[in-house]
């Protein structure tokens, strides 16, 4: 037994392109902005001081990372869009058959069951896409994290825009469905952006927490599909939250997705779905707490990311 190794890679012959010009084009017109430089102090725990300002300075990076993810996602256009269409349609069919036909659960008011399911799926898919994409975002961008400085919060946050693009496609499908059932929403639709924002904030809290955990415990990503699967059934996606007995309703609203989905249904289904205010306020409270908690944990662990990745 001798320590022979297979021939892995041969020294390749680089192309002999003309590289005669060795002068470097460094423009020197920036002498003026010398004066505007700032002194940066690096010491333990110091990152806190300029973090939020940095987040603003790096807003272009946020835009460009989001744009990159979007471009890559829809580069193979057929698959990108098809995926955004097939997933909600199939889920809607399954839920409608399962909960309406088999379990004989009621819809809300006069809204068709599939429309009701779809109105709930819109925020749910937004939630699950953000949670899923954000949680792996730091690991897939590890080459950036370990080589360049920028506020790490940008990376998981940038996945929101991709999720919103998916949302737009699903929403277009929803409009088509409303036309099919001749069931249109009314003035309440103008509140949609508020609920959309709420949905994003509700996803961001847990997403940040899980993202940070995923860097530290790399096997955490195996748990995420399970969390999402579980969440899908405990959240009122396939059924209306009115089927929950009144006395449990407030407790049920501890799940922030409940408030978001109820809000979506209220504004998309012409008020056929009644608004349960105490539960909604509770959901908002939970969203805020989880957002603070998620941001706090992310910030706490952030400065070790480069050492862990």
């Amino acid at each position: 037994m001798y320590a022979h190794r297979s021939v892995a890679a041969q020294g390749q012959n680089p192309e002999s392109e003309d590289m005669a010009s060795l002068t470097i084009p460094m423009t020197s017109k920036n002498q003026a902005n010398r004066t505007s430089k700032r002194v940066l102090v690096l010491e333990a725990g110091r990152a806190e001081h300029h973090y939020w300002r940095d987040l603003w300075t790096y807003r272009e990076l946020f835009a460009i990372l989001a744009w990159r993810d979007l471009a890559v996602r829809y580069k193979q256009t057929a698959i990108g869009i098809a995926w955004a269409l097939i997933r909600p349609i199939l889920s809607m069919l399954v839920f409608t058959v399962l909960f309406s036909r088999v379990a004989k659960l009621p819809s809300v008011g006069h809204a068709p069951y599939s429309i009701m399911v779809f109105a709930g799926m819109l925020p749910w898919f937004l939630f699950s896409t953000i949670l899923n994409d954000a949680s792996i975002s730091l690991v897939t961008n590890s080459n950036l994290i370990s080589k360049v400085y920028f506020p790490r919060l940008i990376v998981p946050s940038a996945t929101i825009l991709v999720a919103l693009a998916d949302f737009a496609i699903t929403f277009a499908l929803f409009i088509l469905m409303m036309a099919w059932y001749r069931f249109f929403s009314d003035w309440r639709l103008i509140f949609l952006p508020c609920f959309l924002l709420l949905a994003i904030l509700a996803s961001l809290g847990p997403a940040l927490y899980i993202t940070a955990l995923n860097v530290k415990y790399r096997d955490f990503r195996y748990i995420i599909p399970f969390i999402l699967q579980f969440g899908l059934y405990v959240s009122p996606v396939g059924f209306s939250s009115t089927v929950i007995p009144e006395k449990w309703r407030l407790l049920y609203s501890l799940n922030p997705v409940v408030g978001v989905i109820d809000g979506f249904r209220w504004c998309l289904l012409r008020g056929e779905s009644k608004f349960y205010l105490p539960g909604f306020l509770l959901s908002i409270g939970v969203v805020i707490v989880s957002l603070l908690l998620g941001t706090w944990y992310f910030r706490k662990t952030e400065r070790t990311f480069a050492d862990l990745l």
């Binding site: 890679a9 423009t27 102090v41 690096l42 990076l61 460009i64 471009a71 360049v148 050492d307």
Partner: protein, 429 residues
């Protein structure tokens, strides 16, 4: 003159926690954590809740940097030298804000850019044009700034015709040129250049050196240059900082620092480098202690066409009547350059009595071209049973010497030196 200082480090230190049960991966898995907790709980239950703190503590502190003090002035080019693991990369990481110091502080005036980021964040699916914007943003350039310099970047990289082609279809040369061009058009006050950049071909390296010289001379920017190539360091830098085991061993004019460093490396070669314990496998009858690779022609560096002397110190636990030795040498791509052993060469070895022994392997008139190499060494019995084997754990480098009429021989010349002669005989028609 103090306002001229662009980087000032004061008792800077960086501590890492090394846990000993996790050897390969830096991250832990939740499974391990839970398993560890359960184990500890079970142990403490079994011990009647005796304290388990202190014991079972598998985490050890490791200071990658400690007590680092220096100041770098505007327009100064400073070379940072030291062996692998001396803390050079950690220092650069702190300066470029990737990781935070554990103690002390650094004041940095102006924008820092590091060429260790060449090509970072290129996405293969995106086109050259898209990647310029992406990469620029990652390096901290503003969109307006990139737009202004776009033409220059493209022209410098010579990729005009492929701007709308996905980068995955680029040749490696185009890829490197584009990446470098984006980085070269940043205008940082402080430029950090890591060895990593030496992966390119000779042209590329020349380009980098040219750039750095220009940046420092004409624009008064400061450069921190990390390299193992003492020639390059001496050419480029005026001042040197020598790091050893996370501390500054010496600092001053570059020639003095390099000289002191080279001298110490040679001292080290005489005593030999220790084998790392977990790199050695085998049945344990022989323990590999230390090794050195040297040029038997006095204290010159290892060089092509010269002899190479491997000296391996070992400790024999119990007497070995019939022994055999072998050595394999690999280049930086992991390609086996040579593999020789006493069995196949039919060289009989004397019995090895218990105790210390030194093995010398002399390779005459080395034909390998300059570059980094690794070697494996093993002791076995003639039947092929391994007593001790150190795989790829001997590292050495053949220095650049004038060959083929140049002093910069790289892998384009191949792997081995040929003592060559050409002749042309025109045939009479």
């Amino acid at each position: 003159m103090t306002s001229d200082v662009v980087i000032r480090a004061e008792s800077l230190g960086k501590k890492y926690l090394i846990s000993h049960d996790v050897q390969r991966e830096r991250y832990t898995t939740l499974r391990e954590v839970i398993a560890g907790k359960v184990k500890r709980l079970a142990r403490s239950a079994a011990n009647g809740f005796r304290t388990t703190m202190g014991r079972g503590q598998e985490v050890e502190e490791f200071w990658a940097l400690r007590e680092i003090n220096f100041a770098i002035k505007r327009g100064e080019v400073v070379g940072i030298i030291g062996r692998n693991g001396a803390g050079k990369s950690t220092l650069l990481k702190i300066l470029s804000q990737i990781t935070e110091p554990s103690e002390g502080r650094v004041e940095v005036t102006g924008r820092v850019a590091s060429l260790l980021e060449v090509g970072t964040g290129f996405h293969p699916e995106l086109t050259g044009r898209e990647n310029i914007y992406l990469n620029g943003a990652i390096l901290g350039m503003e969109r307006a700034e990139i737009r202004r310099k776009f033409e220059e970047i493209v022209a410098f990289a010579e990729v005009e015709r492929f701007l709308d082609t996905p980068v995955k279809r680029y040749s490696s040369g185009m890829h490197v040129r584009l990446a470098f061009s984006v980085a070269a058009h940043m205008e940082p006050e402080i430029l950090i250049v890591d060895e990593v950049l030496a992966v390119g071909d000779a042209e590329f390296q020349k380009k980098c050196m040219g750039k750095m010289r220009g940046v420092a001379k004409t624009e008064g920017r400061s450069i921190l240059f990390v390299s193992h190539n003492m020639m390059a360091i001496k050419q480029l830098c005026r001042r040197g900082v020598w790091l050893q085991n996370g501390r500054i061993r010496n600092t001053g004019p570059i020639d003095e620092v390099v000289e002191a460093y080279t001298a110490s490396v040679h001292d080290k070669l005489q005593s030999g480098d220790a084998f790392s314990r977990n790199a050695v496998t085998g049945d344990g009858r022989v323990e590999l202690v230390s090794y050195s690779v040297s040029n038997p022609k006095s204290d010159l560096p290892l060089a092509t066409k010269d002899d190479m002397l491997f000296r391996i110190n070992l400790r024999v636990k119990e007497e070995i009547r019939q022994s055999a030795l072998g050595i394999s040498i690999f280049n930086e791509f992991g390609v086996l350059m040579t593999s020789i052993n006493t069995v196949e060469l039919g060289i009989p070895l004397p019995p090895l009595p218990a105790g210390n022994a030194t093995v010398c392997v002399r390779i005459r008139k080395t034909v390998f071209l300059p570059g980094p190499y690794t070697a494996s060494f093993w002791v076995m019995n003639p039947q092929g049973h391994i007593h001790a084997m150190a795989e790829n754990s001997i590292a050495f480098e053949l220095a650049q010497t004038p060959l083929y009429g140049t002093s910069q021989v790289d892998r384009r010349w191949g792997c081995v030196y040929s003592d060559v002669e050409f002749s042309v005989t025109p045939l009479a028609t």
